[in-house]
């Protein structure tokens, strides 16, 4: 077998095998985090109307939008909101961006993630108009950090920030084409979980890596899990 044939063979085999591996991984995750996955699905169906509305406002469907964050919802359930360490909030409000890298709420959003979103929105001519309500006056001030945390503590604002994230990505990667909605979800979910300001090539590489959940010894592929949720929610 020459090199090209061997490459073609490997490519075909990986196309045949990888989806099954991914499915197996998602199945294992579902087994290990059974009640947490059930919690995520229940959250979706209980709030379907709100999520539908949010998805429509940014031109997508609710299952797609929610699947971006669904694996994180399982971790919210796993860690339980009551375990959110209050002192982290004090350090963030008092100390600013150095202390902004911790997760809050159903979608496990970080204050640093919201700060990045705000920057993207205010730097865009279009989004600074349509998503003006997401911006906070004097964003580096203490009062802005208090507002950000207050918002993050509510499900409604997490949903607003999720739609804002979707719109930022739609604009930022408007020239990127995806084979299908699952490929798009893989990219968007990876960008959500690992940082939407990472270079495209890095985000594509990360789609194949197992690095989730943060605190577990056993790691899973975040993009695979998002796709599994998409199938479950549709």
């Amino acid at each position: 077998m020459n090199l090209n044939c061997r490459y073609l063979f490997l490519l075909v085999m990986s196309r045949l095998i990888l989806p099954n591996l991914s499915l197996g991984q998602a199945q294992e995750f579902q087994n290990n985090y059974k009640s947490e996955c059930a919690f995520a699905k229940e959250l979706f169906f209980k709030n379907k109307e709100k999520i539908d509305k949010a998805a429509t406002s940014c031109g997508t469907n609710s299952a797609f939008l929610f699947s971006i964050v669904a694996p994180e919802v399982t971790q919210f359930s796993y860690l339980s909101n009551k375990l959110e360490n209050y002192s982290l909030k004090v350090f963030y409000v008092q100390g600013g961006k150095d202390y902004a890298n911790f997760s809050i709420g159903h979608f496990q959003m970080k204050p640093s993630f919201i700060e990045e979103l705000e920057k993207e929105i205010s730097n865009s001519k279009t989004l600074s108009k349509t998503l003006k309500f997401c911006l906070i006056d004097n964003p580096t001030e203490r009062s802005a950090r208090v507002t950000r945390l207050e918002r993050l503590e509510t499900f409604e604002w997490q949903l607003i920030y999720l739609t804002a994230f979707y719109q930022v990505l739609e604009l930022k990667y408007k020239n990127l084409t995806f084979e299908n909605s699952k490929e798009k979800l893989r990219f968007y979910a990876t960008a959500y979980n690992s940082g939407f300001n990472k270079p495209i090539e890095q985000l594509k590489r990360l789609q194949t890596k197992n690095y989730f959940p943060h605190f577990s010894e056993k790691k899973y592929n975040y993009a695979d899990l998002a796709c599994w949720f998409l199938e479950e929610l549709n």
Binding site: K82, E84, S87, L88, V90, F91, V146
Partner: protein, 359 residues
């Protein structure tokens, strides 16, 4: 009228002074302008008491981590994540040099070299090192004397005060099931199930689908087993559980043992055979002093419930009995019965401060 007003103002001023006199502010530690306390995703790598403060500081401009113990900078290592290069195993601010940690530094060939610091004594470099035994090795009797474990020349050793013990580590590094065993107790595999045996004869009719962490010192045995997606821990004839998960299991002498389990409330608990203490997830995180974790807005009462302290991150003060005090919210607060005082910690710029309010 004027006189009354003067008296009223004097009384108010005196009250205010008296209240301020009850308040004492101490700066425990001042970070450099480029430093901040290391913040994990869900925790602060920090612990504090009224007069002591320990933490990991990060200096992103220099890409350095510094371990601070009771206000003294103990060790600085290159790196940006303590989970990779600086892991604290033990911290007790009431002891002199009350800490143990491991750290990793690259040598001139860019290879990782691991060091151990035990109560201010440094050991290493090693190929790898840890305070807990490597996977596949559990030796309860020896554990008592082993200060730390290290790897050299591809083999693991345990360091006691007098000798280095070569360890017989199992081949399987990740799924330990057969640990330390001497004497007649054992388990065997019959028709798809495990059974406990004594001198190779089955002594318990109970069948187990799987067995983890099997120990025996000849007279006792202990092991963990899963059943119906739950986990149990058995020591001789006593079974503990069910738990959603078990982790970091150790038995010292078959009467003293400890492990972490995941409760039905999704919270990890540390169980020492008698009491369960709420804990954090184990395994991947750096050291956290549970005593100083604060999961909700501080709301503290005096012993007789006549005095209260509340704090909220939104406000730059705390409220004691309806009056505002201090210049920052508390990130941790408690009532000290010996001093009959409220004590709270705060961060003000680069200062880590503690306030004490005598009642």
């Amino acid at each position: 009228m004027k006189l009354r007003l003067i008296i009223l103002i004097s009384i108010l001023a005196f009250n205010s002074l008296a209240q301020t006199a009850n308040l004492k502010r101490t700066v425990l530690f001042t970070m450099l302008p480029t430093e901040h306390v290391y913040l994990g995703e869900y925790f602060l790598a920090q612990s504090s008491s009224a007069r002591k403060f320990s933490c990991i500081l990060i200096d992103e401009t220099k890409n350095n981590l510094t371990f601070v113990f009771n206000g003294t900078r103990v060790k600085t290592v290159p790196g940006s994540d303590p989970l990779d290069v600086l892991r604290i195993d033990y911290l007790n601010s009431t002891e002199t040099n009350g800490y143990k940690f491991k750290y990793i530094i690259k040598d001139k060939n860019r290879n990782d070299q691991t060091y151990i610091n035990c109560f201010s004594e440094n050991f290493g470099p090693f190929e790898d090192a840890n305070f807990s035994p490597p996977w596949g090795y559990y030796a309860p009797e020896e554990m008592k004397q082993i200060k730390y474990y290290y790897k050299l020349g591809g083999r693991w050793y345990g360091k006691t005060s007098s000798k280095n013990v070569m360890l017989n580590v199992g081949d399987n590094n990740y799924t330990p099931s057969y640990q330390y065993k001497v004497g007649p107790y054992d388990f065997t595999w019959i028709n798809g199930n495990y059974y406990i045996t004594y001198n190779k004869s089955v002594i318990h009719k109970k069948a187990y689908k799987d067995i983890h962490y099997f120990y025996s010192n000849g007279e006792n045995f202990a092991f963990c087993y899963p059943e119906n997606n739950q986990y149990y821990f058995q020591i001789n004839d006593t079974s503990y559980g069910p738990y959603r998960a078990i982790d970091n299991f150790e038995t010292i002498d078959y009467k003293t043992f400890k492990f972490y389990y995941l409760g039905t409330d999704n919270i990890w608990y540390y169980f020492n055979g008698e009491t369960s203490i709420k804990s954090r997830l184990t395994g991947k995180e750096n050291f956290i002093s549970e005593e100083f974790e604060q999961y909700g807005n501080p709301e503290v009462f005096s012993a007789d419930y006549k005095n209260s302290l509340i704090s909220d991150y939104k406000y730059e003060y705390v409220v004691i009995d309806g009056e505002a005090y201090g210049k920052s919210p508390a990130y941790h607060a408690w009532y000290d019965s010996a001093k009959n005082a409220f004590i709270w910690s705060g961060i003000e710029g680069k200062d880590l401060v503690v306030y004490e309010f005598k009642l």
